[in-house]
Symmetry: C2
Subunit: 259 residues, 2 copies
Amino acid sequence: MSPSRRTRRATGRGHSGGGARHGTAAGQALTGSVEDYVKAIYELAGASGGAAATTDIADRLAIAPPSVSGMLRRLAALELLTHEPYKGVTLTAAGRRAALRMLRRHRVIETYLARQLDYPWDRVHAEAERLEHAASDELIDRMASTLGEPAVDPHGAPIPSREGTMADIPQRMLADQPVGARTRVTSVSDDDPALLRYVASLDIRPGASVTVVERGPFEGPLTVRVSGKGGTERQHVVGLAVARAVNVDAPRGPARRGG
Amino acid sequence: MSPSRRTRRATGRGHSGGGARHGTAAGQALTGSVEDYVKAIYELAGASGGAAATTDIADRLAIAPPSVSGMLRRLAALELLTHEPYKGVTLTAAGRRAALRMLRRHRVIETYLARQLDYPWDRVHAEAERLEHAASDELIDRMASTLGEPAVDPHGAPIPSREGTMADIPQRMLADQPVGARTRVTSVSDDDPALLRYVASLDIRPGASVTVVERGPFEGPLTVRVSGKGGTERQHVVGLAVARAVNVDAPRGPARRGG
DNA sequence: TTGTAAAGTTAGGCGCACCTAAATATTCTG
DNA sequence: CAGAATATTTAGGTGCGCCTAACTTTACAA
């Protein structure tokens, strides 16, 4: 068994340690870390191509700011973003492409887990967070195809297409809606399972109608009326954290009429 | 946004760098590397608890022998194996448990990909090789449950149970069968996609009947008669690499009668 | 039994991705 | 506009998991 060994190793990895784990077909092979950074920056800066701050990235990835500083230098060298020291970073076209690819992976996986494997709403995120780095493009596409190319994930977030385009659904936080506005829930932020479970227990899900009935003073809690799919109508008082996690579409005409 | 950061980071990762990526519920949290080593050693040493050689491990993982030496020391510290320097390594009970867990993950994923996502036979292995490290135990169990707790993977290898036990199907290589023996294919080694495609093209799959008709001299090629499921009967000359990748169960009575 | 080939180990390095502590730049506030 | 608070970067360090080169142990054969 001796000659085969040298041969195989000589063919594969070349020289020094560390490095990328697996190929991804699109462009270079990115590590899981790089993928996480790019996705986080995209989510912070938005599709508009704005800048993201070091501290915000650090916060989102639960990493110390100096570590982020160092990594940003490497991401800039990879031409995934431009870095103006002390100012912030902006994704390049390649960076946005990489980010949208990860967003697609994440959301396709979430949708697949929920629909095909009966995963509960609040657990798909954590599972997808790990699988999105390990799945091949083929697997993602097979999942999407099995699901009939879904347009949104279980939390209502739009799924980027295979080609890397995403519907730009205008999002506004429930927290910003005026009293009396009748809105439709488009999506719910998915990164806190406990909050997600709580929101679901209030029947606040994509598609539900929510009307702001009252608003406490000094950024206080909101009283909202929720019309679920089954015609149910309930009223709740929710804190700002909840109101900020819920995104709604355009107001659907003033709800109040007689008062 | 400043106070939340310190808090979150202080809660999570503690101090120094590197380390495990994600928890696995069973025992400690093992890195992907550790999982690969343990699985490889199990496959080399067999369920019988034999010893594995450094070079063989290195060969199987496509890693240089000194790297393996170093890692074995760490695996020994984790009490997953015992290491007699210059002799070889033997998995402990914990090591065998960890290996069987990985084997289950790998084979459940392979089966799921093939049955639910129409993955071709020869591509499930590579995909599973990456997913097995990222999937949670919950996901594996949901997959297995969806499939009706399958007993074997697409290549015929037995799937360890949730509790970590595996049917010990006696395996013998087709290459070792005597001329005239009529055997049933139990499994086909899955790590070489090209070989797998070739074997499939000969209708040699788990369940097929194979009779050794002739055997070339000096470890030469074998002539085999293959009876597929559809009652087809074909004859092929296969090389030793193929004959060694195909495992068969007990001979099913002598096939020849008048000869 | 002794000499050599093969297998295995030690020694010394490297890149990645993280860390803390300390310096520096920017932004707010009085 | 000075000083404080905050954001960011530099400096120096760690463990992991790999590498090559060189050495040691073991196994086999003359």
